[in-house]
Subunit: 408 residues, 4 copies
């Protein structure tokens, strides 16, 4: 009889890869606990549970993390206007620390020294996953089969996995990998960045060509930079919990084909990869928050906060959610949001989000001050001095250049 090498908590998706990993880990002599996080993806969790059990999982955890994912991970990203390389709304990147945090909690609680996952050796997810684990459980040992030669040399493609699954009596291996904030597609013919994405690729969003011919108009109410209510302007539907708000906007965006992007991005690992993402609700929130923020926040605070948000986005992308610097940035960004409150009205139509208007009880917008018709408490003569003083430096520069030319 074999002695167990110890217990592994495996992040299990129910798909082919992690099913094979489950069996392989047992083969290597580990006790395996599977853990599947519900962060909003469309999945049959009970089927996954049964599959894991039938494959020999010692214990199966299925955890509903949706509320904490929205409140603790998505909301701070909305506050930050988090966006990677000007385009990617960081869906998967945000999900990883949320998932891994719970995995580490389970490992500690179950006395497991090991955690494992099915992320590949070339991607970002392995890093996001493992940095979270090391940060929260420094003594943990990580088994990443796709980086272990015995594993990846044995399973050189989908075919090898399928055969192994069959032999292992792995029931009905599906392979959808879905995240809730974002769905992403990264392989196959799309590895040639010139090829167009096939129209049937997308799961969360309708094609704008097939989406409704009539816009939906909603109002999003923010408090401290975070959405607290969504109202459909015509239908009067209202959502007020984080989970409901986010789900509703996800649906709405999906219905109108909002949030599809096709990009080439730079992985932390140093290579460029092509990614196709759909982030319907996230895209609506990004635009709405940007609007209410600029409306209510001082220009210079916003400028500083913009830099912090760019840095924050990089950290998210690279997997550093649980780092001292990311914690520091979250604190600073949250501080900047104290007065970010008010309502934004917008319409969603054919893949696009249109901001229509906004109001706030605490805006720095001053209708009288800015009016073309009213002078208000503003003396236009001051602008002359302002401009002339700003020109001092420019005129000095001109003088110097002229002198330099004369010398030649």
């Amino acid at each position: 009889m074999n002695m167990s090498k110890g217990t592994v908590v495996l992040a299990y998706s129910g798909g082919l890869d992690t099913s094979c990993i489950l069996v392989w880990l047992k083969e290597q002599g580990y006790d395996v606990i599977t853990y599947l996080a519900n962060i909003g993806q469309d999945e049959d969790f009970e089927a996954a549970r049964k599959k894991a059990e039938s494959l020999g999982a010692k214990k199966v955890f299925i955890e509903d993390l949706r509320a904490e994912f929205v409140e603790e991970f998505i909301w701070p990203s909305v506050q930050a206007n988090a966006i990677y390389e000007d385009r990617y709304l960081l869906g998967t990147s945000i999900a990883r620390p949320c998932i891994a945090r719970r995995q580490v909690q389970i490992a500690k609680q179950e006395g497991a020294q090991y955690v494992s996952h099915g992320a590949t050796g070339k991607g970002n997810d392995q890093i996001r996953f493992e940095l979270t684990c090391y940060a929260l459980y420094p003594e943990v040992k990580i088994i990443a089969p796709w980086r272990i030669p015995e594993f990846y040399n044995r399973f050189r493609g989908r075919k090898d996995l399928m055969e192994y699954a069959e032999v292992s009596k792995c029931p009905n291996p599906s392979c959808t990998v879905g995240y809730w904030w974002t769905l992403n597609y990264e392989s196959g013919i799309l590895e040639n960045p010139k090829n167009h994405a096939p129209s049937d690729l997308f799961l969360m969003t309708k094609s704008p060509e097939d989406s409704p011919n009539v816009p939906d108009m909603v109002e999003i109410k923010f408090n401290k930079g975070v959405p607290v209510m969504v109202t459909h302007l015509k239908e009067g539907t209202t959502k007020t919990t984080p989970l409901d708000i986010f789900s509703y906007l996800n649906e709405l965006g999906g219905k109108h084909g909002v949030g599809r992007i096709d990009i080439v991005e730079n992985r932390f690992i140093g290579m460029k990869s092509r990614g196709i993402y759909e982030t319907p609700g996230g895209t609506i929130l990004y635009h709405a928050h940007l609007d209410i923020e600029t409306f209510t926040m001082d220009r210079e605070v916003r400028r500083i906060k913009q830099d912090l948000g760019i840095k924050f986005s990089e950290l998210l992308y690279n997997g550093f959610w649980y780092s001292p610097e990311c914690k520091f940035l979250r604190h600073c960004i949250a501080k900047s949001q104290e007065n970010v409150e008010g309502k934004v009205q917008l319409s969603v139509f054919k893949g696009h989000v249109y901001i229509l208007g906004r109001e706030s009880p605490g805006s720095l917008y001053n209708e009288e001050l800015v009016s073309m018709d009213v002078q208000g408490d503003y003396d236009p003569c001051d602008a002359s001095g302002f401009i002339k003083i700003n020109a001092v430096r420019l005129r000095e520069h001109h003088r110097m250049e002229r002198e330099a030319q004369l010398k030649q």
Copy 2:
């Protein structure tokens, strides 16, 4: 007989404001030369010429600046991905230094010590205009009637101007102010940022609701970060000069309702204002350039360049095109574009731009390296070391926090 106080070169739009200013300047004892720049706006230049002459302009300059505007001002902004406060593509801001540069040249050539303009005392344009003048012609004197109490107290609204125009026999004063890269609307009921923009506001772009139900697909070819050819993928139409490329994309974007935004922005002068802009061609170029740039530029160069671009955008917005720092940034940004070449295919549909694919002779994208199926010249084991070293700092932080807690 009156002695002339000197000669003024007035930036003349043909509209009501500058027509009144023309007459008023003469009334004050100046000789007035009018100058009207063609930067692509839809205007009857000959009518404007006649009007200026009939109002007593000593000389009338109508200058076609379209080619230099596109090549010297728009192209560098495309290279920079110039965008103000994450949303505004800086249309008017870019036009101002181009217009004022020529005005200063005329003033020098005509021996005029004065220049004048019709920009208001609360806006950004006065600054963009005047900083350019001071930078290029430090001895110039600027007459900004909307900052002179005798002027603005006399003309307190449109009605006063109309009456004055009538008395002055000012023929048929129109008041469209249009720019080519961007059209913007800033006053009236829109001064309440909650009010929605009326549907008939826009001049360059169709409403997405009325735009074609079939996308147009084009390919834009870039060299050194600048578009050098546009091809309509179905029709085969091809444009190759800067002016043609830009005009074509403007039309195409307009046809599909691309580039409308409604924002509240922060003026240099310190107040928030609402702006509604349409930038059809600029929006297409923004997305296409972003794509080819990320495809061809090293990640870290891009990161540095991103910061330079944000700074550059601020400078543009605030009127510092002709400043030593903006010149320095243009140089650095241009340097970063040396390898930004290739083709981007995109579709334009219902207000949105969709990137479909891209290719480049000099991309850093390496299909083999990134492939999920091929290992290539990459050892996944290295990632373990990479992650563990990145975790050293995080684990130390955890250690310190734990020690701190134990002490309490």
Copy 3:
């Protein structure tokens, strides 16, 4: 009999300029309240009171702001490592908002609508002073005589002021202007930046050539980035209140000729000026804080905080202490200092500060981890992977360059 035009609170130094301003303001029909802040400068405050009274001040305020200056203004600057253009420790800049804040409080309390000061029209201090006033008392009216033609055309030099003072029976006008954190000298022969400063210029610091031949060694204890105790290592002297700590370090630095700089700096107003400063205590604190901060703060937090500190320094220099962005930065910087605690030992000798050693109860320094002799919880093999992954990008770049060369 004249009606008063209203009441002015004048920032009064007791020197020639502000004495003349006092008299001139009365001559213009104002009631004048003088206000003199004690922020540590070497001054006969009672003499100044008498002078103000004899010149007709309606009321005289002499306010001891030393403790609040140190705690509320100097300490946050120490936390920020505030330094302008890499060299200037911002002495006067920090003092201004502290002085002006009290002046505004007096103006409100005394029902005065006006405040006035003797800062020149070319300098930074006018801005620092007035931005504080406008920020804290937006309705205030500011009288800046050195920007009023009737004043500055009448008093074209020291001689005019002296004559006016004599006629006005202004007793014994002195003209030392001293600040406590920093003393600065800006005019006369030093306006030629090539000329060396005369040796008798400095007031707070001994010349290093004449300073003691034996160093003094002290230990500074920090908590939350702020000094809480200074101990002289040989003599055992100990200081524990902010005021005592700062005074003691000022003396110590002065004794050893620490903190003298001769720079050309860029004023907010757009011109370059030469400044000679002495900041003895501030220089010691700058070095000590830098040391304890790097010792206890995570690398990446420090990197972000470094940028915030540079921005903060600019804001201080330009007079924006009481701005939303500066308030935001102070909050963020203070947050970064939570773990900045420990002791730094240093010696002060002949104009220089030498850091000798440091310790902290919560340092991230891990003697075992870093040891050359002990491996600790660190596997050197990981470094290979770390380096190779970092090289992925560099090798791709090399590949692309080689391909580009081959094509040519």
Copy 4:
């Protein structure tokens, strides 16, 4: 008979570590070419050559890189004001890419597939070394014995190395490691960051306590941000080649005890380490360049360049000299230096550098403009408008805060 495993070019210092590595590599079956770079360190190169030969090196390269080190590596760092974490002038960091570049050239020329070095597995030098190699010779294989278990487990301390050296008949192993720009010390009792450095540690600099009681005054002439002449003001000595200038300033700084620092720094690898450095010439150049740069460069260009310099310094420290981003930064920084020319006079005394004065043919300093006594082409009234416009935002913020308070 043994087949050779291939040829290794070993960076050889002549010291104990690399002598053992030489022998060990041969023992492992490699042909070993040793390579020793002269970058100014005090070393008996002929003795090193003989030692290498006697230990069995197949070939010995001793390369004088001093001139290229100064011109191609130190000068750009001077232009950048390169400094890591506000204190460290990056001596060793700058030397590494220079040394490794030549090593790679030798490897290519000699057909060697391997390079090797004696840097430890916890330090920065391994990274600086290897990133350079991978960037310039992507196919190279690197042997880093201190990261190979068979090596580091066998040689667990100096004693093991000594014994091995003796058995191997390694003649007279010395162990000084010296770099020219900087000398650094990092181990032993200094691993406790509280311990003071012993007084006999330093090799390049005199103790300030023992240094001359009379300052030396020199003038450094810069062109394009780079020193082109040094003149001793009293003695009239003049140096004009890069190598002579740098050597002379190194001597001068050393004589006066300039450039000693004791810091804790953050390694790229994620740990904090204590470093004690002496950088005599570099410190003088740092101060002189900072002065001439601020004197001649526009404020805002300088501000942008400051950020680039900080980024550049990080890259240097982390070993990315030969990266696309570092190349880009060097280009931008060099561009910023075009007008940085003129002369700085300074004195060196008792560990400190004092800037005394400066002049430039192309300075932006305008004595008339800045003069307290002359108005020049400057209207002080403009400052009022400048300040009031800058206050618009601050007053709006105050208004909003007041309204918020009233609501509560």
